[in-house]
């Protein structure tokens, strides 16, 4: 079995989505479901409740201690954003944090992913995107394919990390050279199996290019920028320490104003340090 077949088989054998997320997705599809019913589903998982309330009351979401219940969180953030936060927390817990390979530690990987989620959402807000619910989640799971490799192609991934060190190259290029596919493709396979929205699948598959064919996709462009900003500020560790060149087309898509990045730097770092504490501590 070659590496690609191993990955495909691994993804096919992965468990389905965490139960709470599946129950929430089913419930939201039913127009008769009340927000109290949705809050009850989430409340069955007390760890999620605790973390979600901490997160929505953190400076990142800006409610600062005003939200005491899941019902209030749904009221202020919208159901989909709360559902996505439940999902993000579930995915972080889904993969083992103990599988350390050379200098690649899942905790640093998640720290990078959370940083990308934060930057992606802040960029989304800056460009005036009203529908921000997928921004944080898309950033958090954009590199999920790396964990598939770690889980199902452990020996080959050691070679990938060694190649990154010896050639000082991007991890995606080392993956392609050793495994035949990179993490964006592996991640999209998982997102497809989990039936995540197409917009999230696109942001996983196309985050290196920042565009989807000739189409304008604000989410994909924002995740692309989120990745570059997080690498530039060394927030977490994505498997190599390089900073890719932005695709210049994303600036035409996003129309970010001059001075934005230097202005938000301190806020990003502050949000990052608080959010990783909330999301990564068991």
């Amino acid at each position: 079995m070659n590496v690609t077949e191993k990955i495909m088989s691994g993804v096919n054998n992965l468990p389905t989505l965490p139960t709470v997320y599946s129950s929430l997705t089913e419930a939201i599809e039913n127009p008769k479901t009340s927000s109290d019913k949705l809050a009850n589903i989430i409340s069955n998982d007390q760890v999620s409740v605790f973390k979600i309330l901490k997160l929505v009351n953190s400076p990142f979401y800006g409610f600062r201690g005003k939200i005491d219940t899941i019902s209030q969180a749904i009221l202020h953030l919208g159901f989909n954003e709360v559902k996505n936060t439940v999902f993000a927390l579930s995915v972080i817990n889904f993969f083992s944090k103990d599988k350390i390979l050379l200098n690649f530690r899942p905790v640093d990987f998640w720290a990078h992913s959370i940083a990308v989620g934060i930057v992606t959402r802040i960029v989304g807000a800056e460009i005036g995107e009203k529908n921000l619910e997928n921004y944080f989640l898309a950033g958090i799971i954009h590199d999920i394919g790396k964990l598939i490799f770690l889980e199902y192609a452990h020996d080959e991934y050691v070679k990938v990390l060694e190649l990154v060190e010896s050639k000082r190259c991007f991890i995606k290029d080392a993956e392609s050279e050793i495994m035949g596919i990179d993490h964006s493709h592996a991640g999209q396979l998982l997102a497809n199996k989990w039936k995540l929205p197409q917009s999230i699948q696109n942001s996983i598959l196309h985050h290196h290019k920042g565009i989807v064919g000739n189409e304008t996709d604000l989410l994909v462009a924002s995740v692309h920028v989120g990745d570059i900003v997080s690498r530039m500020l060394e927030l977490g560790y994505p498997g190599d320490n390089l900073v890719p060149e932005p695709n210049h087309k994303v600036w035409d898509i996003l129309k970010i104003s001059k001075g934005f990045f230097p202005q938000v730097r301190k806020r990003l770092i502050n949000d990052f340090s608080q959010t990783i504490r909330l999301m990564l501590v068991d």
């Binding site: 900003v229 060394e234 900073v243 600036w251 001059k258 990045f261 730097r265």
Partner: protein
Amino acid sequence: MAKLISIDELKEGMELELPVKNKFGQILLSANLKLEEKHKLIFKMWGIDNFYIKDTGASDEKNQYSEEQIIQAKNSLEKRMGWTPKNMIERDLYEMGLQGILEKYY
């Protein structure tokens, strides 16, 4: 007291804080040189997009770092980038990354 600016921001009378070098590290213009309008054209010919001028603004966050520290931080960032900023947003990104390194390591 160095401030990174682009050639579009060049104004007559600004003074170079750090020497301007080409990609091979050769000094093209020395530190302390007073810039004139003609330097815009010269920088364009040499393919120089950004350079450091003296900045007297007390609010500049980089004021607290020495020239040597700024050069080290710049080298470290550029080694990880392998590309040069090509527009004002990318210059902002660079500036943000540079400030991040200075705060984290110096």
